[in-house]
Every structure is written in structure tokens, then in C-alpha cells.
């Protein structure tokens, strides 16, 4: 019979205790259908109350438990332990963020980038009694980007963010597109201006890592490519207008 003993080698870090991280191995008896978050909670309960990690919903909607497991960035609650049995599993914090303690990372850069895109609807004026009219097609265009739970996994696997921590990052660019494509939002140029540049859409390496790793199937790269198209179209239109006005002036 296959062993039901899960071996987790967890990358730990307590800056008051030791300035460098260390690896500690734990073993947990598993049961059918168990996920990695449950295994970690069990370790915290029964073996080591100092093991630090974030958790909340345990149903893959709150975005708390993002971490790196055997080189893949995942939500612990959505990771089945059955797939991890048989060999030691290496569990570490989400990469590219400063580690606060053990599996907890400091996400302040992430949420600073979030604030930079002014992530709230700048609604067109409407009476408080009536709803906006949105066609189902318009809703479906935005819907995939609405699913983002801001877990940070896409940042952890993004080569552009790795190179420059000021790169807005996949989740935020997807969020910017969500407002750009929303027929209720009156912004257009403002959003495009905020994401134009090497720290915006042009910094993306279009390797689609974010699309592959997203636990909620959000496709940030698709949004980035669409926004690049809009910026180029914008530039082309204004260039064309400039030429037209020059021509008009010279013909006077």
C-alpha cells in the first residue's frame, strides 16, 4: 500500500533568530482528500506553533495562502496532498517578495502597485435610482479579469517583475484593463497613460507565465496585448491628426 505519510521540507525564516533562512522537515499523516493548507494547519497545531503562514477561506477564493511548492506557485488550499506523497515536498514563500516570516511575505509593493492604477470605478453620471445598462457581451469581455483574487501568484512567476519591482505586474495590468473595458467607467486616456511605459504594458515579456499559473484562470497577458493595441492605435490616430493639421497649415 502506498504510504500516506506526507513529508514537507519547509523553508523557514525568523529574522530575530537567524538572519538566513533554514529548511525544516515535518511529517504529517494524511487522509483522503486532504489539501496542503490542512497539512500546514495540522503542523501548526500539533508540532510547531511557531510556523507562520496566512490562511482564511480554505476554498481558493480569498487569496491568502499563495506559496511556492516544488518550484510551482500555488494556493496551498487548492493543492492536493495525494499529489505530493512519496517524496519530500519543498514548501517556501511566494518568491520575489520580501519574506516577513516563514511562508508570509510582505505584499506592500503589490498593493502599492494596485493603488497606482486607481482601481475603482470612475462612473459616468447616472441617477441613483437606475442601473447602468450593460450588454451581456460587454460583461463577458470584463468577466475573466474580475475573477482575480489578488493572491500575488502571477507576480511571483513574472520575469518583468523579477527584473524591476516597479513593474506594475500582471494582476494590476489585468485590473487596469477591467476598468478600461468597463462601459460604465469614464476613463480612457487616463488608464492608458498610467500603464503606458516600460513599467506598464511595455515591460511585459509576453511569456504567458501569469496566464499559466493563475489559480482563477485570469489571462493578464491577453489584457496587456489588448492595451498595447489600444495605445498604438491611439498614437497612430494622434500622429495622423498632427500630419493632417500640418498639411492643412502648409496648404493655407
Amino acid at each position: 500500500m502506498r504510504s500516506t505519510l506526507l513529508t514537507l521540507s519547509i523553508k523557514r525564516f525568523h529574522k530575530e533568530k537567524d538572519s538566513s533562512p533554514w529548511i525544516e522537515t515535518f511529517q504529517v499523516e494524511t487522509r483522503k482528500g486532504m489539501n496542503l493548507l490542512e497539512a500546514l494547519l495540522r503542523i501548526q497545531d500539533e508540532q510547531d506553533g511557531t510556523l507562520a503562514f496566512r490562511y482564511s477561506c480554505r476554498g481558493a477564493v480569498c487569496g491568502s495562502c499563495a506559496m511556492r511548492v516544488n518550484g510551482q506557485d500555488v494556493l496551498a488550499c487548492r493543492t492536493h496532498v495525494e499529489d505530493l506523497l512519496g517524496k519530500p515536498t519543498l514548501v517556501g514563500p511566494l518568491p520575489l517578495f520580501p519574506v516577513t516570516r516563514d511562508l508570509i511575505v510582505d505584499m506592500s509593493t503589490f498593493f502599492n502597485h494596485y493603488r497606482k492604477i486607481e482601481p475603482f470605478l470612475h462612473g459616468k453620471p447616472i441617477s441613483s435610482q437606475t442601473e447602468y445598462s450593460i450588454k451581456e457581451g460587454e460583461r463577458k469581455e470584463i468577466d475573466p479579469y474580475i475573477q482575480c483574487i489578488l493572491c500575488g501568484i502571477c507576480f511571483g512567476s513574472c520575469p518583468a517583475f523579477e527584473k524591476d519591482s516597479q513593474f506594475l505586474g500582471p494582476a494590476m495590468l489585468a485590473k487596469a484593463y477591467r476598468f478600461l473595458a468597463d462601459p460604465r467607467d469614464m476613463r480612457n486616456d487616463e488608464i492608458l497613460k498610467a500603464i503606458d511605459g516600460q513599467r506598464g504594458v511595455w515591460g511585459c515579456k509576453t511569456v504567458f507565465n501569469c496566464v499559466k499559473v493563475c489559480p482563477k484562470e485570469v489571462p493578464p497577458t491577453h489584457a496587456i496585448v489588448k492595451m498595447r493595441g489600444k495605445i498604438l492605435k491611439h498614437r497612430f490616430v494622434s500622429l495622423f491628426a498632427q500630419i493632417l493639421s500640418l498639411l492643412r497649415r502648409s496648404s493655407l
Binding site: 480554505r58 516570516r101 470605478l121
Partner: protein, 567 residues
């Protein structure tokens, strides 16, 4: 001593907390939110099926109205809801839902481009506005976005430990900065609790791991009674194994409940509404099938969506499909989902009026931790999200008015004294060398609550529960805490929260023991009928040195006299 001060401090950053904060901030007050998790990790995010409002967008022979909504809610509550509060919720809910849409919530749409509405349990009209089956996620992100736009201050990953009460008024809170391990007093002219539910006192619960009822306990500890705590909602359909919620929308969209004999058994329990009966009745129906050996081995029945077809499932229930696949390895397009009832919601909580005011001056409450009471003995699906935005906004508005009237600043000596007293108490706890593991006690409490204080209750079980809780409270004193600092001290938090949960469990059991009738979610097999003559009243539980003391108060009836409840 470091002392922080705000006009309005809100504990909890879920829907009710955020909505209250936005309202108070718009009235130009200094508002801060304190939450043990980042606001986006709050349990509101897990709400799925929708939010009720009588918009009348769905095709129906006659137009829906807020009065119809109020009637359905009151009947659903088994006539225990305060009808004036229900009327406020149903009337104001319409504009509050439209407001959420104006702020960016991406509701699903009708063909005409209006907010789509689906049928839900116990409702006479398709009244539940939805964003596929991720309505809570949509609403929470939108409110957090609004709060971000207003630059509302948030103390993320701080834990509220104890309310500071002076001269019969709430003056602030002692809070723990969990990462730094420092206890910091926070003065507030007005303090608002929006900490959500306490589902985690049950073994089988749809609630997030963080739902330990801390706000209810903070209030209870400070001398505020808790109202109607024996009314605990069991959701009919939680995923077998993990008890993650499978939305009522699955039945709203036409899903069937099937037992091991292949029967659509709801015919026996709600012959007219069938699967769309109210939650208390459907949950008891399922539990009866399981108890009478018509369930599947292990204790579950099937929720079958296959006849809805691939397209409808992908369009309306994509989150449900993802949950079933991720957590049970079942694709609902191809196979039925194994489900069983599980604790889901707490109708009871901190008593408030329609403006969020509690019996303790300067203390407000909103959302699941509060009891207005709009849900009475049984909440209808789609009404909890509505409650958070309607009463969150009302409480925020009233709190802002109250803050304006309060002129006095923090009394430094008071905060110093309370901090010192708390710290010396804490030193005793952290120095303890007990051998009892905390998780063991917690797990015993959870099993006890699920098996003895669940969908079906009886005197003998409740007496056992009462004795066991007393024993657990005693054993709690033998729990040792190895870590001495407070930074990242999960052992301490577990211990601290367990103490609170045991008190809440005790209140539930006492209320259930005393209430010798069956009403809504509270079903006593030894008293299977509703008894309006003796029990059409709210329970109030007070914390006294001798234990829980029960008192009662009248139910407010306006236009809907209690009637027999059939579906």
C-alpha cells in the same frame, strides 16, 4: 505608551465593515478599519449566490415589490424577525444594490442589459441579483476598491483583544499588532464591530478558518448581551469532505436533490417549493434522509446539475464547478455533487437597532456579528449580503453623527491602567506550563457542537453539551503556551479565540436548552412545534460571574401577523 486615536474605529474589513467605513469617511470623519486579515481575505469573499432586492427585473406575471420581499423574509424567519427592521432592509435594499452596481459590481445581466435576478429559497419572486456564482467576491472587491479610493486607513493583521469600557460607554480597544507582537490601545469616539460569524465552533461549517466570533465575544465580555444565539443556520448543501459551500443558486438554477434510492426527496418536506424551500427545511430534509439510511455511505446525498447542461453550468455556476472539481474531484457537468448540511450562518449576535446602535453607548455593530434582527429564526439566502450593505451604511452614518457629538479626547490614564491590567493578566497566561493541547480542546468542542447542537436537538443532548463545555472551559486553564512573545504567536491566538468560542458555544446551548419549541433553524425533537404563546420572543444572554443569564424581549410585529409556515 503608544496610543492611537480615531473618531471611528471599525473592527472587521468584510462587507459590513467596509460599507460602514465608506459611509463614515464620506461624512469626513477620521475612520480606520482594524482587521485580523487583509480586508480582501474576509469571509464575505466566499458568498456565492447573490443579493436580494425587489428590482423586478426578471420576467414574472406581476411586478415584485419590497413589501413582497419583506413578507418572504418574515415568513422565512418563522416570524421571529423584527418586522420594522425587515421593512427598512427590503425598502432601502433596492437603492443599496443599485449603488453597488454604480460602484462597479459586475452583476450578470438580463437580455435588456439590466441586473439579472434568479430564484432563491423561500422567495416568491426571482429576486436574487447575482454575479454568476461569485457575488460576494465581486461585492467585496468593489467595496475595497471604494475604500482604497477614499484612502481609508487599515490596520491589517491586527487582532482586537478587549474593549475598553468606562462610565458605561465604550472608549476604545486593546489591539495586538500581530507581526510586531505589541499590544496597542486605540481610542475611538465610536467603535463599530463588524467581525462576521462564529461558524468555526462547529466541526462541519462552510465558514472560513478565521470565523471565530471574536466580535460577539468582545461585546459579550464587555457586558453586552447576545441575542438569539441558539438560531444557527445549517446550509443544506456543503461539499462532502471539506464542507465548502455549494451555493443555493445551484438549486435556484434548477438543480435536484437526490437520495441514494434515486428519489427527489424534497417532495416529502416542501411539496410546492421542492429544492427551493427555505434553508432550515431543506437542511432538515437532507439530514432526515441521511439519518434514515437513504443517504450515501459516509452521510451525504447528491446535488444533481447534469440536466442543466454544460452551457448553463459554465455561464451561471462556474465557481461551483471549480469548487467541485478542485475539492471533490467531481465535474458537475458529468456527475452529481456529494453534499451534506453544515453550519453556515449565525442569525443571532450583538443586539442592535436599525442604526447599528448596541445597548452599550458608543458601541455599534453591523453584519453577521449583529442581530438587528432581520433574519429571526432562519435567514433566507441572499439576505445576508443585503444586510451588510444596508445596515453597514446605516451604522456608518449614525456612527459619524455620534462622533460629531463627542468632544472629549482619550483619557490617557484610563488607557494606561487598562493596558497594564491586561498585560499582567497576559503574563500569567504566557507563563503557564500546562500540558493540555489547545487544538484537542477545540476539536472536541467542534464535534460536540455538530453532533449535539446541530440540525436536530433534544434535551438530553443539550445537557451533555452543557456539561462538556463546562469541562472544556476548565481544561482550557491547563493549556500551556510555549512561546513567550506575542509576535506571530499562533498558540496564544488559538488559545485566546478558543476561550471566546467556548463562551459563545455555551450561550448557544443555554438558549437552545431553554427554548422549548421548534422555530426556524432551532428544531427540538422533543418539542417539534412552534409555540408563539410562550416563545414568540427574542432571547438575550448576559455574561455573569455565575454563568449565562437568560432574559427575553418582545418581537416587533408591524403588518405581518404570525401564521403557520408551509412551503
Amino acid at each position: 505608551m503608544e496610543l492611537l486615536s480615531h473618531d471611528i474605529l471599525i473592527i472587521g474589513g468584510g462587507l459590513a465593515g467596509l460599507r460602514a467605513a465608506i459611509e463614515a469617511k464620506k461624512a469626513s470623519w477620521d475612520v480606520a478599519i482594524l482587521s485580523k486579515v487583509h480586508p480582501l481575505r474576509s469571509h464575505s469573499v466566499a458568498a456565492q449566490g447573490g443579493i436580494n432586492a425587489a428590482l423586478g427585473n426578471a420576467p414574472a406575471p406581476i411586478k415584485d415589490s419590497w413589501e413582497n420581499h419583506a413578507f418572504d423574509t418574515i415568513k422565512g424567519s418563522d416570524y421571529l424577525a423584527d418586522q420594522d427592521a425587515v421593512e427598512v432592509m427590503c425598502r432601502e435594499g433596492i437603492e443599496k444594490v443599485i449603488e453597488m452596481e454604480h460602484w462597479g459590481t459586475l452583476f450578470s445581466r438580463t437580455e435588456e442589459g439590466k441586473i439579472a435576478q434568479r430564484p432563491f429559497g423561500g422567495a416568491g419572486f426571482p429576486r436574487t441579483c447575482y454575479a454568476a456564482d461569485r457575488t460576494g467576491h465581486n461585492l467585496l472587491h468593489v467595496l475595497y476598491e471604494q475604500a482604497t479610493g477614499l484612502q481609508i486607513c487599515v490596520y491589517e493583521e491586527w487582532v482586537a483583544l478587549s474593549l475598553i469600557v468606562e462610565d458605561g460607554r465604550c472608549a476604545g480597544v486593546l489591539a495586538l499588532n500581530f507581526f510586531q507582537g505589541k499590544i496597542i490601545p486605540i481610542h475611538a469616539k465610536v467603535l463599530l464591530l463588524a467581525t462576521g460569524g462564529h461558524g468555526r465552533i462547529y466541526l462541519r461549517s462552510t465558514n472560513a478558518v478565521i470565523n471565530t466570533g471574536s466580535g460577539c465575544f468582545l461585546a459579550y465580555q464587555a457586558g453586552v448581551p447576545l441575542e438569539d444565539m441558539e438560531f444557527v443556520q445549517f446550509h443544506p448543501t456543503s461539499l462532502y469532505g471539506t464542507n465548502i459551500l455549494i451555493t443555493e443558486a445551484a438549486r435556484g438554477e434548477g438543480g435536484y436533490l437526490i437520495n441514494a434510492e434515486g428519489e427527489r426527496f424534497m417532495e416529502r418536506y416542501a411539496p410546492h417549493l421542492m429544492e427551493l424551500g427555505p434553508r432550515d427545511i431543506v437542511a432538515r430534509g437532507i439530514q432526515t434522509e441521511i439519518d434514515e439510511d437513504r443517504g450515501f455511505e459516509g452521510g451525504y446525498v447528491h446535488l444533481d446539475l447534469r440536466h442543466l447542461g454544460r452551457e448553463k453550468i459554465l455561464d451561471r455556476l462556474p465557481g461551483t464547478r471549480q469548487i467541485a472539481m478542485d475539492f471533490a474531484g467531481v465535474d458537475p457537468i458529468l456527475e452529481p455533487i456529494p453534499i451534506q448540511p453544515a453550519q453556515h450562518y449565525s442569525m443571532g449576535g450583538i443586539p442592535t437597532n436599525v442604526d447599528g446602535e448596541t445597548p452599550l453607548p458608543r458601541l455599534y455593530a453591523a453584519g453577521e456579528c449583529a442581530c438587528v434582527s432581520v433574519h429571526g429564526a432562519n435567514r433566507l439566502g441572499g439576505n445576508s449580503l443585503l444586510e451588510t450593505v444596508v445596515f453597514g451604511a446605516r451604522a456608518g452614518k449614525k456612527a459619524a453623527q455620534k462622533a460629531k457629538a463627542e468632544k472629549d479626547g482619550p483619557d490617557l490614564t484610563l488607557f494606561q491602567e487598562r493596558l497594564r491590567a491586561f498585560q499582567s493578566e497576559l503574563e500569567k497566561i504566557l507563563g503557564r506550563k500546562g500540558e493540555e493541547p489547545c487544538f484537542q480542546l477545540r476539536d472536541e468542542m467542534k464535534s460536540l457542537m455538530t453532533y449535539q447542537v446541530g440540525t436536530f436537538r433534544k434535551e438530553s443532548d443539550l445537557r451533555i453539551a452543557k456539561g462538556k463545555i463546562k469541562e472544556l472551559k476548565k481544561r482550557l486553564l491547563n493549556v500551556g503556551i510555549k512561546q513567550k512573545g506575542l509576535a506571530f504567536n499562533y498558540e496564544f491566538i488559538q488559545y485566546w479565540e478558543l476561550g471566546g468560542m467556548l463562551h459563545l458555544a455555551e450561550v448557544i446551548v443555554e438558549g437552545a436548552l431553554a427554548r422549548k419549541e421548534s422555530r426556524g433553524s432551532h428544531f427540538r425533537v422533543d418539542y417539534p412545534h412552534r409555540d408563539d404563546e410562550h416563545w414568540l420572543r427574542h432571547t438575550l444572554a448576559f455574561k455573569t460571574p455565575e454563568g449565562v443569564k437568560l432574559d427575553y424581549k418582545e418581537v416587533t410585529i408591524t403588518s405581518y401577523p404570525p401564521k403557520e409556515r408551509t412551503y
